[in-house]
Subunit: 424 residues, 4 copies
């Protein structure tokens, strides 16, 4: 963890400017009929999960260029996640990936307590082969044509649930790489039947207070078809499995031009929105930092989420899922968590009564402007004040750099191997 | 109609070459264990519907460049459709669009008998305003925020059913332009609830032996969101309405790169594939001639359809839906009907037993080659022989050009107005 | 024009809040080392051209739903454009489209003086046929296979130059619909040679102080290929023609996912960026209101433009080009002009020295944050103050609605015909 | 190499059927005025290069699933390439990638003679870091902001030329991963200036009879911008460098929906088409087997190449570039080489005189049909006969499977490590 005095000193230097900005924004919002403190409190209460694998440097199939001080195991990762939460106050939970993060539950719980974190959804991995594994996932896992391979994949998912129960997780997220690279390689229908059969076995092992989140993806690692290719198939899965099954939306997993916020709305309407993997993309599953490419799109997603607040049983899981290839992962995750908070704060500013009126009256221009007025508002002072008040850093990246954390861990952690591509 | 002697003479000239090609193909297929006559009979029994609006020259929002002899009304259109069927033997049904084709049912039936045609699905139009209409569809129809506008759109659909019943149709196809052009313009959820409410009213008016086919489309004429944007929403609609509701797939209505044949498979698997609008596209809803851009994709769709043959209650409607901007529409429709037959014939050649074996054994290369072997086969002689045997033309376009049909109708039909964009 | 007292009264009511916001922003910017008045003065000096055709309601190939009080001719259009400039102070020039706007030059100049406007680039139209035209553009214009058709298209462009010279224009913009709908329909090379030949004839008729701006577009109205399909071909054209030829970038004319700001940078670097048609899009050439879909993308374009300020001979033309299907065109154009100003103002706030340092040091995160810090700043008070100081409206849409302008013109202008598609 | 008796025996069994098919096709083509032997001879003379890295199993950033008997070094790779050429007679050259394939030139030449192969273009690698390398390519290579890093990358390219000269290569292909992952990370203009500066240094080291081929790519491994993002920038590079510089087109490196055959035509027209990396794709740079997804698109590319035959100095390099993730790479490369031959043979069948007539007369339908008639022709017997006559296998995949080659090399080659992603 970072020495608290580093944070305190940095905050002290930024305090006066923040208060001036905050007060000015408060006055401005008051003129719009909005109480800034209410917004700030909502933002302060908001938290997003960090994926354990996000704190390592990512890569592509072409190369991976590691940084210094890469985490060598789940405990290093939890240390890094703890720093992120310490500085932002926005990331209270970590999502583990098994077997990468497999460890003694007692040790995991101890480390979580030490770092001030809790555990979010568990993630299974049947898109890679592990040493000593009996059956290969080269041609699929839950949907493999071979029953023994499917059973192995089911068994692994049940193990993830078992481990998760011991560390306080309440959800299992399943993403598979199953698909095909050639027309004809797989029979779409039989493959999907096998997937559903396996998924039902996993679902049967779900504790009553758990959710099963399935994730769709258009392509990659399969390049002609994927078994859960879009939200339509994902929705079918959630329907077939039952009420504890819901759909997870990763912002980078859709076809070009797709209106993602509309998919979010549809899944909410039919009770099947389970959660998000937040990131940004320009071309494919680029896994770029959230809101780095299209911040308005993120806002529009949050506009749907705020619109749905209060819907019974509406509680989607929020998680970042990014690949940090050219930045310090800790910095990117801090920034991205703040970007998600920003979109949430902006969405809270939408004048929903006015919006509904413009929608009913087909005043497209003013409806658009109503969203834009909220989006344009620079809510940075609200985010900063929420952090300051909870002892986090006004400017987390600056404080992090001042702390020397990365250089310090670089001295104790082994040098990471740059060979091979990068897994995220 | 075209003088039968024109066809007979043209066929006579092409007969010898056809028989040589047909026999050689028969020998080749026999070596692959396939009986050519069986394939030919299936092709001969196959028919696809023509959209009445397809025989007029299409256009874009920028311009429409009409040809000579454009049909002036539904009876002219039926004449043109009759010629298409006479020459190809492949298009026994016509799909009407109301109010464009509204007419006395007795007159329609008489013209159908004269031209040797029957009536396919009825199409309603709530994407344009008609003179004297009480409520405008500028901001939507079945999903409009105004109840009276929705009621007007429902009423129009019920009228289409009523008219269709009198002329032997068994299905209503609904495509709406409803959507929005700005984020915020419409509340996705309330808009979809209104759509479902209206659609249920139409569904309630459906005779027991009818189907309701709904069509999804990613964009255009709405450019930010459309209410039935993809097959996921379309599937929700079909589920909400009931067993007589199914999804219609227009090949040009998807996001870039989307795997359409997989959507077809999913809808078949869940009993909700209602039919097709065949065309081709490179960029958007280009409405180009079927198989003119990507013939293998069309084959892959038919591969799914042949795979599903024999599934209980599986009977999707097949129709062309194209915009002919630079060709004689009659020629394009004849060619496109033959391209659909071609894809069907190729799909019939797939060695399904071998394919299933390669799929189960994860022999991706041979599975791909099994499809390719069928696709590569030049089935033209089969198509020609099927036409010859039913008295149609071996080469429909050549026979049509020889017949002088277009020049003849140009003398009696009024000159079409080139102003405005083109509706298809 | 709108009664000045309407504007004055509206401004008076909004004055106090504006001054509070402006002062607070000034204080904030001062802390960032930025003088707000400098930014405001630059924004105030910025102007963007309005396309004459933009003040009419647009449409699609499916339908056009006109509003009331549609302009019936170029003089009505100039009245509407005058109102836009009166209220925003941001649109001092109008771009005419011939033959739609053909009129006596003296009358055009008189109307321009009356409305306080000047004339921007001339636009030719060889994508539609006009009554009485000798040769049809159905199969192309400047690249048509027939020499007489090409000559007719060249002649029309020369006429546009001639007319433009009389009314003070200094540029000709050429966009053609030439292309093909089928593989094989056109020989790409011969077609492009013909295009270049025709374009050279037009270029030869260009006055010394004029520019020729050519516009690329991926598709529509041609749906398999277009002769100037992308910036690469556009750049070839500008090179072949000579120094007065430059490329025009319409934001909606690119393939999905394309990085447009990078194209802008490349064209600047090689001296060939001629200008812009601003709009926004989600799917294709949607012609939506500028910045309504992706405001950050617009900012990134302006980031390149501000970066290039001071480059010798760098003077790109700025114009809006949108299709207003569901809004009052005057309102959309006012809003869009302000959105362009907003992006310009935000781009002016970028700390370019810091940015260059982060770029040289490969500090990707801080480089990104440097742009984001500028983009996040709500520059609305700067825009409003610039308007207030020049006698325009603080809130142009509100003032416009209060003025009753649309209702007034609706009484004198003929009712527009809703038939046909919409041309933009 | 494979025992010749295996091939002879397999060919003997397939001989009779082949002769029947070949004769029937010859008769058919004769009726179309085409001499089958002429086509066969052209196909027999055609050769395509194999990338050395293609014989290893590829992978994605998520995983790599190696097969048995993976080549461990360049000599193993040349053995595999030798088998491919032995069985197909279509792949006489191999393209090396340095430093992966770095070795003593004498040893390389000896192995090439042993396997009956020659060396095609050299490929440099500045998208990965090598052990002991002074400067990292994490933030770029030829365009890096640091001069020493750029110099290192230039030096590496010069080394590739030097090595290539010793083994008979005549071209250097440069593909870099340089780009950015965040807006703002790189200054587009300065980055491209640095790229051009470095490329000029490499160009200066080019022997007089060599070509420099530069490759554009839209995205990956950089996900916001790449320095050579499209053919427009690639064309600028070739212009800036000089007459020995030309553009290389990889079919999978374009934006969605882009008309690639048109780009090919443009580059031919302006003398800058340097060569191809053939593969196929559905979503991005999927590197799937050539023609496995869209065989008509490949045909349309070859249609341009055959159209340009005879153009002075027109001699593009042809190479496969695929990632074989689920197949035996040898099988995929054999099949893909044959698919390229197939497209070439089909393109040779186009009736170009008729086509030109339809193009000049704007008979779009018949122009399309003219291409389709060529594409539909099953030229398999021509390809098989060409192979048979040169002692290769009628059915290379079958002969390869019968030979037991893979099992044999699996006994002597080390087991490949499945960890990490896959590089292609």
């Amino acid at each position: 963890m970072i020495d608290a005095t580093t944070i305190t000193a940095a905050n002290a230097a930024a305090d006066a400017a923040l208060r001036a900005d905050y007060d000015a924004l408060g006055d401005h919002l008051a003129r719009r009929g909005i109480d800034i403190a209410t917004i700030k409190d909502k933002v302060a209460a908001y938290g997003i999960a960090i994926p354990s694998w996000g704190v390592g440097t990512g890569g592509t199939r072409f190369a991976r260029f590691p940084g210094v001080g890469e985490p060598a195991n789940v405990f290093d990762k939890l240390d890094d996640c703890g720093v992120i939460h310490q500085l932002t106050g926005a990331t209270p939970r970590v999502s583990l990936h098994i077997p990468w993060d497999d460890a003694d539950p007692a040790d995991l719980l101890a480390k979580a307590e030490e770092t001030g974190l809790a555990f979010d959804a568990m993630n299974s991995n049947t898109f890679q082969d592990q040493p000593g594994q009996a059956h290969s996932y080269k041609y699929g896992s839950l949907s493999h044509s071979d029953a023994a391979t499917r059973a192995q994949a089911v068994e692994h998912n049940l193990y993830c649930i078992e481990l998760g129960q011991k560390i306080g997780s309440k959800a299992l997220t399943i993403w598979v790489g199953d698909g095909s690279n050639f027309p004809g390689q797989s029979n779409f229908t039989r493959q999907f039947e096998r997937y559903l059969g396996s998924a039902k076995e996993v679902y049967a092992g779900l504790p009553d207070d758990w959710r099963l989140l399935t994730e769709h993806k258009m392509f990659e690692p399969a390049f002609y078809s994927t078994v859960v290719q879009d939200w339509g198939t994902n929705y079918m899965i959630a329907q077939e499995l039952g009420p504890q099954a819901q759909c997870l939306v990763d912002l980078g997993h859709h076809a070009p031009n797709v209106n993602i916020e509309m998919i979010v709305a549809r899944l909410i309407q039919f009770g099947k929105l389970g959660g998000f993997h937040f990131n940004d993309s320009k071309y494919g599953d680029d896994d770029l930092d959230t809101a780095s490419i299209d911040p308005y799109r993120l806002f529009l997603v949050f506009n749907e989420l705020v619109e749905a607040e209060g819907t019974p049983d509406f509680d989607p899981a929020h998680m970042l899922d990014q690949s940090h290839n050219v930045t310090d992962p800790i910095e990117s995750l801090m920034n991205s968590a703040m970007e998600v908070q920003r979109a949430y704060a902006q969405a809270l500013l939408v004048d929903r009564e006015a919006l509904a009126g413009f929608q009913d009256g087909n005043d497209a221009l003013m409806a658009s402007e109503t969203l834009k007025a909220a989006f344009r508002t620079d809510v940075t002072p609200i985010l900063k004040m929420a952090r300051l008040e909870k002892g986090a850093a006004i400017d987390p990246v600056a404080a992090y750099r001042q702390s020397g954390y990365r250089a310090a861990v670089a001295e104790t952690r082994p040098v990471s191997d740059g060979s091979g591509g990068g897994i995220v």
